[in-house]
């Protein structure tokens, strides 16, 4: 009984919120301003029906998600190794860190105009000389990938450096006196010891990447994605689509975070218990 009640506690405020929303919508009676809850749910429960000529909700979600995963993967591939190098080598750190400090205060959204000017509407397949690949890649603009990359860059890089430099010297010395080579120390000591911090970086980075893609899609020149859907439904005063899109953004963000959190818990099971 107690456990059931505790589990239900989390639902009290969301349900209350929905009730207040619904009452407000009915009283106001202006769907162009406040859509009814059932209208929003109607959009959410029909993810595969065509919306205002922009494709389906599912399609737009998939496009946004694909763009994020594309840019985020690049960020991981570049920033984790760079962070590992900066964390293990003083020389690399001294070389690269000034640039990091210089660019770090720049919010990724501040890069959007730059990316638009620089990359225009170039799509990823065009980089390989293909005009249309007839895959989802046709919806991935280079500029957007760039923005997502910047969103993920610093959390991943800084947490990786932090993770590596925070490895207890006792562990490294123990491995050395047991005859471990530098390569083995890196693989069997530094990497596992830094992994929890790296995973934190990935989680924060993915969260920011997801946030900035929505912002990037809202800008002129965008033609699909969940952010685009928000702006377009705003222009057409289709508020139920706008609100449904926002709900989807929240849910996807939650799912991405939870997914990485599960992986993170697996690799850092030892961490909280160790201290």
């Amino acid at each position: 009984m107690n456990r059931l009640f505790r589990a239900l506690q989390g639902f009290i405020l969301p349900v209350l919120f929905l009730v207040v929303w619904e009452v407000w919508a009915v009283r106001l009676d202006n769907p162009a301003l406040v859509p009814r809850v059932e209208a929003v749910l109607g959009v959410l429960f029909h993810p595969f029906s065509e919306l205002i000529g922009t494709g389906t909700l599912a399609w737009n979600t998939a496009v946004s998600l694909f763009r994020v995963l594309f840019g985020f993967t690049i960020a991981v591939i570049l920033c984790v190794p760079l962070g590992l190098c900066m964390g293990t080598s003083q020389t690399v750190f001294r070389l690269v860190n000034p640039l990091v400090e210089l660019f770090r205060p720049l919010c990724p959204i501040a890069w959007i105009p730059f990316a638009m000017a620089f990359f225009g509407v170039t799509r990823v397949p065009q980089l390989f000389g293909v005009r249309y690949s007839d895959t989802i890649l046709d919806s991935v603009q280079v500029g957007m990938v760039f923005i997502i990359f910047w969103g993920g860059l610093f959390p991943i890089l800084l947490n990786t450096i932090y993770g590596v430099t925070g490895v207890r010297s006792l562990w490294i010395e123990t491995a050395r006196t047991l005859g471990a080579t530098r390569r083995r120390i890196f693989r069997n000591v530094i990497l596992p010891a830094a992994l929890p911090a790296i995973m934190t970086g990935l989680r924060v980075g993915l969260g920011i990447s997801w946030m900035v893609i929505i912002a990037a899609e809202m800008l002129p020149g965008s033609d699909s994605g969940i952010g685009y859907l928000i702006m377009y439904s705003y222009e057409l005063a289709e508020m139920q689509i706008l609100v449904a899109s926002m709900v989807v953004i929240g849910l996807i963000g939650l799912a991405l975070n939870r997914g990485l959190e599960l992986v993170s818990l697996r690799v850092s099971r030892w961490q909280p218990l160790e201290r």
């Binding site: 006792l170 010395e173 491995a175 006196t177 218990l273 160790e274």
Partner: protein, 250 residues
């Protein structure tokens, strides 16, 4: 079996204000193969530094370390070091910690499991192979650390206050475990401690050190037969003698 010789070993640390601290000054010590030597002294006498120099984790400022007349350069492959606590790799299981050392030693994969199990049995932990280090008590963790060090199969086992963080009962138990292992494996053991009782109970010989600069003040052979009785008159006598050496600046 190998003899370890220190010739005029010094270690100087330069402090923040350019002041130089002589952690160890002109040490000449000889350790014979198979000997159990306790190294004791007040805080700051350089006993931990001594082990770190012998292991090769830290460079000498001057002097030589020789093993069987061969000069030691860089990491000393004949040694391994057991720290006071928290040295186990928490991302490995207990067994994984031991097999790590076997792997470094180049032991064949197929034999690793069997050898690691035998070592865990030796330290009385055969049932805990799959446990994670953080699931174990401090005493059990130190048993694993000892098993892991033995897996490296060093000629010389360096121990830096390995039982210093344990309660007295556990400490006494582990002292006996260590003596049994020493009698079976016949390793040279250099055992740093600040506990006089522990030093007298364990060692063939006690090196008493003093600080500023770090140096040896006395080298005392212990000839009491084993197992030693902590309550015997001779034991107490030695205890008092060493305490006086440590407390009165030599």
């Amino acid at each position: 079996m190998k003899n370890l010789v220190l010739n005029g070993v010094s270690r100087v640390f330069s402090g923040e204000d350019e002041r130089e601290v002589e952690a160890l000054f002109n040490l000449d010590i000889k350790f014979s193969a198979g000997e159990f030597v306790s190294i004791i002294g007040p805080t700051g006498c350089g006993k931990t530094t001594l082990l770190r120099l012998i292991s090769g984790l830290e460079p000498l400022t001057s002097g030589q370390i020789l093993i069987d007349d061969k000069l030691v350069k860089g990491l000393n492959r004949a040694c391994t070091l057991v720290f006071q606590q928290f040295s186990l790799f928490p991302w490995f299981s207990v067994l994984g910690n031991v097999t790590f050392a076997l792997e470094m030693k180049g032991i064949d994969k197929s034999r690793q499991h069997q050898e690691a199990s035998a070592l865990l049995k030796l330290v009385g932990l055969e049932g805990a192979a799959k446990a994670r280090p953080y699931e174990l008590s401090g005493g059990m963790q130190q048993r694993v650390a000892i098993a892991r060090a033995l897996a490296y199969d060093p000629e010389i086992l360096l121990m830096d206050e390995p039982f210093g963080a344990l309660d007295e009962k556990t400490r006494h138990k582990l002292q006996d475990v260590l003596l049994d292992i020493w009698q079976e494996k016949r390793k040279t053991i250099l055992f740093v401690t600040h506990n006089i009782d522990e030093a007298v109970y364990l060692a063939d010989r006690i090196v008493v050190m003093a600080a500023e600069p770090g140096r040896v003040v006395k080298d005392i052979p212990i000839t009491l037969p084993r197992p030693r009785n902590r309550l015997s008159e001779e034991f107490t006598e030695l205890h008092i003698r060493i305490r006086n050496l440590i407390e009165i600046p030599g």
